[in-house]
Amino acid sequence: MSEIDLYVVNSTGSELKICGELLVYNRLLSPLGDIDTSTGRLRSGGRVSSKIVAAKGFTGSTVGPYVLYSLVKKGLAPRALIVEQIDVNSVTSAVISSVPLFRVGELSPLEKLYSEGVRYVCIEDSRLRPRGILVAIEGIDGAGKTTIAKYLFEILKKCGFRAIYTYEPYYNSIRAIFESRTMKLTPEAEALLMVADRYSHFNWVVREELKAGSVVILDRYKYSTVAYQGAVGLSVDWLREVQKYLPEPDIGIYLDIDPEEGLKRKAGNSARVLTYFEDLERLRKARKIYLDMVARGEMTLVDASLKPSEILEKIVDLIEEKLKLDLRECAL
């Protein structure tokens, strides 16, 4: 995992922990010539607003410092600046605008991260590290989770992000236990098998990708167990308790659909059918638990009866809004 040491040049207090999308400009930045102050966009493409902007250094005239000041006033400022070379322009810009400024020994490791598709990073204790993004797509059977998750994956790849798509249950051995029926399972045993799969999957697959800076798109996550096993009568509190060491996703999306409609969609799709779960009454109960979780703010509801393109648009907006990622323009 790559960590990059930084040196604080202008501290504003807010730099204790800063997370945001990385933008690497591998030249000297001339604020007046290179940034459109009305939009916060670089004339060469891309936005500086809300980003952690890394550049070789600053150049240009007396006017340079006023550009950053103006961006701050308009709410279009970057979260932080990183330069390889300190000069009076970059320092004055950062100081009069109260934007954190860091120096980095060399820009090239940042360029490398960026070229590998790492976009979301955090600066903490004067160290920059990739910070992956965990996106969980949830919903009852037939809501369209897999379709939407795979589309989202394609969008992220197109936009240059390092991303993976993965699903749960993940391990074939766990699936085999469910499907073979050689072991008689109680609802508790089912729940614990699902959770066991999830802990292992998270630890060996998801966590590594997040460390490397990927966007991990999970097709089902811990909410599925709460909803599905809760629907057969297990205590929702217990289902939460056994999963408490699994982190919250950055973006949790619940695709909401009427269970009958979901089953109808599912009938036309024979792949990956865990017939055991597909009982209308149980799906109704699961939906109710999902809606409770939405009401508690754990996930955001997206209407799954919309067209896939509309659903994706909502998800992209949600990611933009929550993480300030520059996604909409390249995605849609």
Binding site: V63, Y66, Y69, V88, V95
Partner: protein
């Protein structure tokens, strides 16, 4: 705020807000900038000179910065001058949009309210600093003049820093405040400039050659000050440094060790390249006064120009200089006090090309004013203006 810079008791009080929010903000910014650039303390200054006054340059955001300071009670606490504003005049019958006038006048008005004394790029004609005096000047040509000709000491400040220095009377103790360096890397010799435009042409060559390094310059010791002014203004357009040690001029120049320096000689044949054929400039605007003319220069120019026969002739001077004159307004001869044509979007006024005696203007007119520019000698320019051919 975590600060490592040494502050005097007075500066601590300023920072704590005892002298008002604007002073506190100014000291805070100076400390932060100074620390980032490696300065260990602040230094008291006697004269600040603010750059970034043209609306075309600083736009709405610069205006807002100045107004924000004024709103929290900012006043200049030391003698403060400011750079010229854009030339708010007609060219022929063409004028700017009203918005430009309004915004430009707002900038000037706000700075005057804060206590700016005069608008010019030659603040040393308004108040001449003495040897060793500490200043916070932001106009590059004036910085070089103050350090190299007058032996004063100023960082090459950015616009906002000079503004804040004027408010709190301090700047950070940068290299320029330590006196002339003990040793230089380059000695640049120039061969007998015959007029100020030639001195400027040498300045471009020297500035480009030395880059960030402070040089010793030979060959300018017996010239009038306006030759030095043109040389240094042009020098500063290409070099980001704060000083050019002029042999025979700069106080303490003889203490500098040049024994290991690389020597380069620029000859007359090399400056001739700066003077290109003006044949394609059939309807020119004639311009002198970059940097602003001294009173002596202005008197000389006016004595040579009876009536303008061709095009328009603009002369830019500081406000303090123009006060000495009883100027008769002539349609085609415009004396523009406190103004700068180079930072004015002349293209918007329909100007196609400019003929000037300033090497600095030659570089900046295409970039900032959006027009072609041609260099001629001063006397040749004055002859062109008055001849009907």
């Amino acid at each position: 705020m975590r600060l490592s810079m040494y502050l005097s008791r007075e500066e601590e009080r300023m920072l704590s807000g005892e002298l008002g929010g604007a002073v506190a903000k100014a000291v805070e910014v100076l400390v932060r900038v100074g620390e980032a650039l490696g300065a260990d303390r602040l230094i008291e200054i006697s004269h600040a000179h603010v750059s970034g006054v043209s609306y075309f340059n600083i736009g709405d955001f610069g205006l807002e910065f100045i107004e924000d300071l004024q709103k929290i009670g900012a006043r200049f606490s030391v003698f403060t001058t400011a750079n010229p504003y854009s030339a708010l005049v007609n060219y022929g019958d063409t004028s700017f949009k009203e918005e430009i006038y309004v915004k430009q006048l707002k900038i000037v008005d706000t700075l005057r309210k804060m206590g700016a004394r005069s608008f010019t790029c030659t603040p040393y004609y308004v108040r001449k600093p003495s040897v060793g005096e500490h200043l916070a000047w932001a106009e590059s040509s004036a910085v070089l003049y103050a350090n190299s000709v007058l032996g004063a000491a100023t960082n090459r400040e950015t616009g906002p820093i000079a503004l804040l220095s004027g408010i709190c009377g301090r700047t950070y103790f940068g290299e320029a405040h330590r006196g002339v360096p003990a040793e230089v890397e380059f000695v640049v010799e120039v061969e007998k400039p015959e007029d100020p435009s030639e001195a400027g042409a040498y300045g471009l060559l020297a500035g480009e050659f030395v880059g960030e390094s402070v040089p010793v310059v030979r060959g300018l010791s017996n010239y009038p000050e306006y030759f030095l002014k043109e040389f240094l203004a042009a020098f500063a357009t290409y070099s980001p440094t704060y000083l050019a040690i002029l042999e025979g001029v700069t106080p303490n120049y003889s203490r500098v060790d040049t024994s290991r320096a690389e020597k380069i000689v620029f000859s007359r044949s090399e400056i001739s390249k700066a003077y290109s054929d003006i044949g394609s400039c059939s309807s020119p605007l004639y311009l002198v006064g970059c940097p602003h003319l001294s009173l002596d220069e202005l008197s000389y120019v006016l004595s040579k120009v009876g009536s303008v026969k061709r095009g328009e002739f603009w002369i830019t001077v500081g406000e303090s200089v123009s006060r000495h004159l009883d100027i008769e307004y002539v349609r085609s001869l415009k004396i523009l006090p406190g103004s700068c044509a180079v930072i004015t979007r002349l293209d918007l006024l329909g100007v196609d090309c400019v003929i000037t005696d300033s090497a600095k203007a030659l570089v900046y007119l295409p970039k900032l004013a959006g027009v072609k520019a041609y260099l001629v000698k001063r006397d040749a320019l004055l002859k062109m203006v008055t001849s009907s051919e």
